[in-house]
């Protein structure tokens, strides 16, 4: 540019608030949350069941996943192929989400087709066939899916990390969809029993978001209001606990890169330190020029990207630095990481805090601009026990975080010399150097076949 313009200042952001829902209760007790969002012509519906994964029997873990995946394989009114065809004819998409806290069935559909699609959605949830053949197939497909995961370096790392960071008896230590030995035990009978015991109107929330052509409360009552289940059982969510610190190397002979997870037991959104830790984690490993990414990617070229993530659960949680590094720099990358994550001598600065606040504040209107974004957040809030104005409150709390608070909260959660390490890579090249550089108790495991 010949005549240079100065770098423009940023004009103050307009006030933005998360949309407020209208709440209602259906005649059978289902709690309804409706978000009227003008212009959002693809409606998003989430049916949120307060069924934590510890509701599964220990020997048949995976049963919740198989049950949820079989919901749209046919209902008492419409058999297999026919049901899926009816849904797809409405232009609808059906999905499920399983987290440790609860189950969700999800429907996306153009608003003009909502009435018919919502009826089908209710059918899938309340009266699925759960036919033997479909259940057995989904068991086999889940086993195949596990084999795919066990062949993928990043997934092996995440699975091994949760297995180490949470105390091993807790549900959080094992895959949400179940491990091979328990998935194999899932039968049509156990799936039917799981549905019978846990799917019902009590403690269940229906979230609807979009631009509705007609009254969504009436439609919800018509489709879900007559759903009853006297046998529905309530299960209290188990609290995860921290596992003992471990260092694990999962061997993938010949791998050109190693996936690394270095982290520990964390906190949840209701912890008073949550806002301060969110700011700290963005500065350490969330921003493009975060402390970790600026050095390991932009200065050293060791990785396509490195992050620090905090994953909150309903209570507690975990955090980890995660990245993938070419084999010959893994040891050096880890040594650098272990130095960078210490903040005792280099506490977070006010600039880092300001940038983090600006980022979180600025991205919210976009993140929650669609029916899908709003409904998804509302469902997350339901399962985490958070209030309807959680997003606004948490943004206000973020703005009040000081650099001192960010550093202090971070130090109280992240203990750099006491972290669990998982590396998935070529053991022949990595095991000895890792043992020699601060991980003397390294366990080496073979990757599962």
């Amino acid at each position: 540019m010949s005549d240079l313009l100065p770098r423009p200042e940023i004009a103050p952001a307009a006030v933005w608030t998360f949309p407020a829902p209208t709440r209602a209760r259906l005649s059978n007790g289902v709690e309804l949350m409706v978000f009227e969002l003008p212009g959002q012509h693809v409606v998003s519906a989430h049916l949120v069941l307060d069924v934590p994964l510890n509701a599964e029997g220990r020997d048949i873990e995976g049963v919740a996943t198989i049950c949820a995946r079989t919901l749209d394989e046919g209902t008492l009114r419409h058999d297999g192929d026919e049901f899926a065809e009816l849904l797809e004819t409405e232009g609808a998409g059906f999905g499920i989400d399983l987290s440790l806290s609860g189950l969700q069935a999800i429907l996306d559909v153009p608003a003009s087709h909502l009435d018919r699609a919502l009826e089908l959605f209710a059918e899938a949830v309340s009266e699925p066939s759960l036919a033997d053949r479909d259940v057995n197939r989904h068991v086999q497909l889940r086993l195949a899916e596990i084999e795919q995961a066990q062949a993928n370096s990043a997934q092996i790392a995440s699975i091994a990390f949760r297995g180490a960071v949470f105390e091993e008896s807790r549900r959080a230590a094992r895959m949400n969809g179940g491990e091979p030995e328990t998935v194999r035990q899932v039968t049509p009978e156990s799936v039917a029993a799981f549905h019978h015991d846990h799917f019902g109107p009590e403690d269940t929330t229906l979230v609807l978001a979009g631009d509705f052509p007609s009254d969504p409360i009436e439609a919800a009552e018509r489709c879900f209001g007559s759903w009853r289940n006297d046998a529905q059982r309530r299960v209290v969510a188990e609290e995860p606990a921290a596992g003992a610190r471990r260092t694990v190397l999962v061997d993938r002979p010949g791998a050109v890169q190693a996936d690394v997870r270095l982290g520990g037991f964390g906190i949840d959104r209701l912890d008073p330190r949550w806002s301060a830790v969110s700011i700290a984690s963005y500065a350490m490993g969330g921003a493009f020029l975060s402390r970790l990414n600026a050095v390991l990617r932009e200065e050293k070229g060791f990785t396509y990207g490195v992050r620090m993530n905090f994953g909150p659960l309903r209570t507690g949680g975990s955090f980890a630095v995660q990245g993938s590094f070419r084999t010959d720099v893994v040891v050096e990358a880890l040594a650098i990481t272990r130095e960078l994550i210490k903040v005792d001598d280099v506490p977070f600065t006010s600039q880092e805090v300001d940038d983090a606040v600006a980022f979180f504040t600025g991205v919210s209107p976009l993140r929650y601009a669609t029916a899908e974004g709003v409904a998804d957040q509302a469902a997350t809030q339901v399962l985490a026990g958070l209030p309807d104005d959680y997003v606004d409150r948490s943004l206000a709390l973020l703005r009040s975080v000081t650099p001192e608070a960010a550093s202090e909260a971070y130090r109280s959660v992240v203990h750099p010399d006491d972290l669990t390490l998982v590396v998935v890579g070529d053991a022949e090249q990595l095991a000895d150097p890792l043992r020699a550089t601060g991980f003397p108790d390294l366990e080496v495991r073979a990757a599962a076949d």
Binding site: M1, L5, R7, P8, E9, I10, A13, A14, G39, Q40, V42, D81, A84, E85, E88, T89, E90, G91, A92, G93, D108, P110, S112, R137, Q140, A144, E145, E147, Q148, Q150, A151, N152, S153, A255, V256, Q257, A287, F288, L289, A294, R297, E298, K300, G301, F302, T303, Y304, S324, F325, R326, D355, A358, F359, T361, G362, V363, P365, L366, T370, E372
Partner: protein, 447 residues
Amino acid sequence: MTQPQRLARFGRCAVMWGMTQGALTRLAYPIAQHTLENGLRVISSPDHIAPSIAINIWYDVGSRDEEEGRTGFAHLFEHVMFQGSAHVASGQHIALLQAAGAVVNATTWFDRTNYFETLPTGGLDLALWLEADRMGTLLDALTQENLDNQREVVKEEKRQRYDNVPYGDVMELLNTLTFPPDHPYGHTTIGSMEDLDAATLEDVHAFFRRHYVPSNAVLSIVGDAEPDDAFGRAETYFGNLPADAQPTKPQAGPLEPLSGVPRTETSGKVPADALYLTWRIPARGAPHFDALDLAFSILGHGQTSRLHKQLIRRTEHAESTGASTMGLIGGNSFGFSYARARDGFSPEQLEQETVELIDELIRDGPTEDELQRAKAQFERHWLHELARVDSRADALGEYATLHGDPHLINSRIAEITAINNQDVQTAMEQWFRPEQRAALIYRQEQS
């Protein structure tokens, strides 16, 4: 910065203004266009529902423009675009925008390189200033060190996304099966390690001068700004960049469908044997492409597709299946199908079954219901695509760059709705017959 690996063509969404009548949603997003004197095309689509604004620049350059021995260069160049310009230090492009509350990224693909950020409206000037600074002065800041650093980052990206994952080389093998080696689509966007190593500072200079000129770009500004405002700001920041000739595009006339069923077999550390089939089909926008898009969808998209019903539900020979087109602009596109075998079943068996399903579909045509479902699914995906300002800006840039007309985003649903069974059957007979396929069989390495 991500490099999209989009085997599925369906999938995007945004706000729709309009009416729904039966299956047909009429879209009427406001679209205004203006071309600066230096040739930069600017598109504005106002939407004041949120105090956010999306900026998206499509440069009409992708891996199809790469020269021999320089595969992967367009994507490496995309990374260099974040290494600073005359008035912006290395890495600061993203850092400044994130500190303004922006989501920032860029992608490179066969036909494009696009750069984008979405942020609160008050950051619009900053975003435009940053984009203009690198369009005008990237080379002033370029150093060997920056190039070498990003070369390493891109090689790590290749390792992470392709070399260290099961089936990671499938795209490369399919490119090679479907197009001649010297064809613009004969190599992947990520390229080869050797070619990445060979890239020099001179290459970066030449590539920038040739492709990163205002007349080769489309700037879309979507969200909380009226057209006059958007055009005025575009003029302020980009208006004094010098004009330069638009580069010529690689000439690749439409190739005929494949013949002789070319085949490749490979093996690796994969958990299941797999079959991939590919077809060389017409370019996006060319006759038959949309009908073929529906045909691939009917064959393999979703739970009611023929592949899913037959191979997953009925015979239970496969653990997953799929089919889709991947629309490209330069003479031809790809169409794909795949199936991963369950234990005890061979890829050859899956191939035989897939061939029978295609034969049947050509012989009898899709049912009325199937066609309706494929259209309804397209409609939902398209509405989703346009529902957010960021993906709407991307779609506008895409249609303006590749088809010369951003208004097409408003008529896509009507175009798809107009296709009938006969159109699908005719298109398949010409382009999607089993004997026009190429096949890749991926086997588990025997240990």
